[in-house]
C-alpha cells in the first residue's frame, strides 16, 4: 500500500472551488445529473454557503471530479479517506455508491442537518491542547462531545452553546493556544444526531450498495474497511459520532502509506500531515499539478 486519496469535509469550501472544473466533461455530466435529480443549478451551491446542504453538495462535486481526473491521469489510490461529508466522495470513487445515489444521500444529509437544531447549538475548535486533556475537560459537561479528532493537538467539539461557553475558559486555563467558535449552528458528529443517522440508514437500505473496489477508511473507527455493509454504516452513522481522523492517518502511516494526496479544495489535511509524520509525501492537488503528483507518487 502506497497511496491514499483524502477528501475534504466542511470547512474547506471556497466560493471559487468549481472554477478549475467549469466546462470539463465531468463537470457538465455531474451538473446535468444534479439538475435531473434535484432540479437545481449547481452554481447556487458555491454562491451561498449559509446552507450546509450547499456546502456538502459542492464538496461532493469537486471531490468526485478531481479524483476521477487523477485516476484518469494514472494515479490510482490504494485506499480512500473522506473527512465527514468527504466520505461520500470517497465512497463514489471506491464504487460503493453510484454518483447518482451519492447526490441523493448528500442532499438528504444536508436537509436533515439543516432541519435539526435551528438554534442553541454549535461547534468549537480547540488548538494546541492534547486531545486527552480536552477529553478530561469535556467529561464535566453532559452535552459537549468530541466531534473531530483532527490531530493530537487539534480537535473540534460539538454541543450546546451554553456548555461550550462554560468550558471555554477552562480550556484556555489548561493551556489551549486557541479556542474558536465555528460559524455553524449544528452540533455535528455528536449523539444528538442519532435520529438523523437512523433516517440515513433507512434511506441507504433502498439503495444498491456495492463492494468497494478500493478499501475505505472509516470516520467512526479509524479502521480500513473492505466490506460494503461496514462502509454503508460509516457513511450513515458518521454524522452522529466522532471523526477519528488523526487515528486514521496514524493507522495509514503504520500500514506503510507514503503518499497522501489531498483532493481540492484546500490544503488543510496535507498541512496537518506535514506536522505529524516524517518520511511521507503529503501532496495537495490544489498546489501541485496533476502531472507533478503523478511524478511524486510513481517515483521510487
Amino acid at each position: 500500500m502506497d497511496t491514499v486519496f483524502l477528501f475534504p469535509g466542511q470547512g474547506s469550501q471556497r466560493h471559487d472551488m468549481f472554477q478549475p472544473y467549469q466546462g470539463t466533461k465531468h463537470f457538465e455530466l455531474i451538473k446535468q445529473l444534479i439538475e435531473d435529480a434535484l432540479q437545481e443549478d449547481v452554481n447556487q451551491y458555491t454562491a451561498d454557503f449559509s446552507s450546509t446542504r450547499h456546502v456538502q453538495l459542492a464538496l461532493l462535486i469537486v471531490g468526485v471530479i478531481s479524483s476521477k481526473q487523477l485516476v484518469e491521469a494514472g494515479i490510482r489510490p490504494d485506499c480512500v479517506a473522506g473527512h465527514s461529508a468527504g466520505a461520500y466522495s470517497a465512497a463514489v470513487l471506491s464504487e460503493v455508491l453510484t454518483l447518482k445515489d451519492a447526490i441523493r444521500l448528500v442532499d438528504l444529509r444536508g436537509r436533515l442537518m439543516e432541519q435539526a437544531f435551528p438554534s442553541g447549538y454549535g461547534m468549537m475548535a480547540v488548538q494546541g491542547l492534547d486531545v486527552n486533556v480536552v477529553l478530561r475537560v469535556i467529561e464535566s459537561q453532559s452535552d459537549v462531545y468530541l466531534a473531530n479528532e483532527n490531530a493530537q493537538q487539534q480537535v473540534v467539539l460539538s454541543g450546546s452553546e451554553r456548555s461550550l461557553q462554560t468550558i471555554r475558559d477552562t480550556l484556555k486555563e489548561k493551556g489551549s493556544r486557541r479556542v474558536t467558535k465555528l460559524s455553524v449552528t449544528v452540533p455535528s458528529h455528536s449523539p444528538l444526531f442519532k435520529k438523523e443517522a437512523d433516517v440515513l440508514r433507512e434511506a441507504m437500505k433502498n439503495l444498491k450498495i456495492d463492494s468497494p473496489k478500493i478499501p475505505y477508511v472509516s470516520n467512526q473507527s479509524a479502521r480500513l474497511l473492505r466490506h460494503k455493509d461496514a462502509i454503508a454504516e460509516d457513511l450513515a452513522g458518521n454524522i452522529a459520532s466522532t471523526v477519528r481522523w488523526h487515528s486514521a492517518m496514524k493507522m495509514l502511516n503504520e500500514r506503510g502509506i507514503k503518499n497522501y494526496v489531498q483532493l481540492p479544495p484546500g490544503t488543510v489535511y496535507t498541512d496537518l500531515l506535514h506536522d505529524e509524520f516524517e518520511g511521507i509525501q503529503a501532496l495537495s492537488v490544489e498546489t501541485l499539478s496533476v502531472d507533478n503528483i503523478l511524478q511524486f507518487v510513481t517515483k521510487e
Binding site: 492534547d130 486533556v133 489551549s176 479509524a222 506503510g256
Partner: protein, 550 residues
Amino acid sequence: MPTSTNTRWTKKRDAKRDRLSRISSMIEGKFVQQDNIVSVLERVIEPYDRVILEGNNQKQASFLSKSLANASNEALHHLHLIMSSVSRPEHLDLFENEIADRLDFSFSGPQSTRIAQMIEDEEIKVGNIHTYIELYGRLFIDLIPNVALVAADQADANGNLYTGANTEETPTIVEATAFKNGIVIAQVNEIVDELPRVDIPSSWVDVIVLGDEPYQLEALFTRDPRHITEIQILMAMLAIRGVYEKHSVQSLNHGIGFNTAAIELLLPTYGESLNLRGKICKHWAANPHPTLIPAIESGWIDSIHSFGGEKGMEQYIAARPDVFFVGSDGTMRSNRTLCQMAGQYAVDLFIGSTLQMDYVGNSSTVVRGRLAGFGGAPNMGHDPKGRRHSTKAWLDMQKTGDELVRGRKLVVQMMETHQPGNRPVFVDQLDAIQVAKEANLGTPPVMIYADDVTHLVTEEGVAYLYKSDSPAERKEAIAAVAGVTELGMTSTARQKHRLREQGIIATTDDLEIDVKKSNRSLLAAKSIEELVMWSDGLYDPPEKFRSYWT
C-alpha cells in the same frame, strides 16, 4: 514393574526430518532460491506452529516477513507468532490475512495504533506483552519455536552465518529453535566464499535464502545534538551532579533519547570541570550511540557492551576495540539478550525518560488508543533482587540500619514537567490503567513501578525518592520538583524547605549548579559534523542525518 508404553522419544526430530523432506527438490545444500521462498515457507511451516520472526527495534528479517505475508492462508493459518518487536506493516497484515492469530511480543511502538485496533477487534489474540529478556527466557521454557525466521549479513557456502555488529537477538532465537528440533531459516544480504568470522555455526541453520535487498536496519539510537535543548542540558547537569557524582555511579545503561544524549555530551565538558573523569560512567551497557564519541575520545569510558549496532558507527567501533566488544576479525559483535541481562544485573544505574508519572512514582509511556509494549526498559529499570555484588552506588541506596546491608539499583526517571499540548505529566492515576481496561489487558502496562524508582530528575531539581517509603512523603517530594503542573502547585515553600533540609530533594542551588552555564556551548559536540570530527572521520552518519550539511 512399570508397564511398557512404547513411548517414542524422537517425534520432534522425526517431524523435522519430514518437514525438510518436503522441500528436498528445492534445496541445494542449505540454500533455496529467492523465488521459491514462499513455497518453502508454506511447506516447512504448518498451521498452529509457533513461529519466531526476528525483528527488534533495529534489525528486521524483512525479506522473510514479507514472504510469509505472501503465503496462502489455506496453506498457513492459525500461526502463533512470537516477535520481540512488531514494527513492520506486514507483521500485522499476517493477522489481517488470517495467516496468524496468536501473538506474544515485547514492543510495538511503530505499529501502536493498528495493533491496539486489532486487539480490540479480536483479530489478534495476545498471549502476553513482555519485556525483552522475559520473552527470550520463555523461548526456552513454554514458547519454544517450531520455526525461526532470522536475518544475517552473510553466509558462506557451508551455511555458516556472519551477523557482525547487528548480531542482536539472532543467537538466542536460533539456539532456542535449533536445539529443540525446530527449523531455522535465515535470510542473508550476501553469500561469500569466506566469512569475516562465524557468528552462527552452520549446523544450527537449516535453510538459507538470499534476500531481495539488505535486511531493514534502523539507525534508532542516533540523536543529532542540534536538537538538544537548554532544558535538557540543565537536566543533564542535575543528573551528573545530583545522581552520578553523588553516588559514584561507575556502571550504567543509557537508552534512546535527547535527555541521555545531553548527559553523554556533557561528560567531557561539565563532567571534566567537576574532575569526575575516572570516577563515574566507566562501564556501559548501551548501544554505540554516536553521542558517546566525545566521552570515549576524552578517555572517560573503559567499556561498552551493546544490544545492537548502530548504522554509521562500524568503522569507529572497529578502530576502538579496547572500548567495544569486537571479534578477531575486527568488527563489532552485539548481543541483545546478554546485554539486557548485563543491564539488569551488572550495572549500578538505569536512567530513562518517561511521559507520565503518578503521585507515588509509577511511570508509563502509554498514550490512550496506542499500545507500544515495553521493550527492554523494565528489565533494566528495576532492582534485581538476585544481585549480590556490591558497589558504592548500590550500597548508597540501602535503608539506614538494615543489618542485611542490602543495596539497590539506582533507577532514575527524567521528565520535563511541561509536555507538548500540555499533556499532564503527573497524574493521580496513570492512563495505563484505562488503556488496560480498553484493550482487555490483564495488567496495566506500567513501564517502571514506583517501588523501583529511586530518583526523579526534572528541570526543577532531583527528588531522592529512595529516601522515603511513605506514599505521602514521596508525593510531596515529586510535587516539589513538579514545576507549574497541578501537582507542583500544591507544593508549599515550607514543604520544599523541609525536603531540602532532609536531603529528599535538591535544587540547582543545593547542588551548586550554575544555571547560567546551562546552554548549548556546554555540549562537547553541537552537531553531527562535530561528532564526525571527534571520531577522526571514522563515524559515517546515515544519509538522513546529513541533510543540513553544507
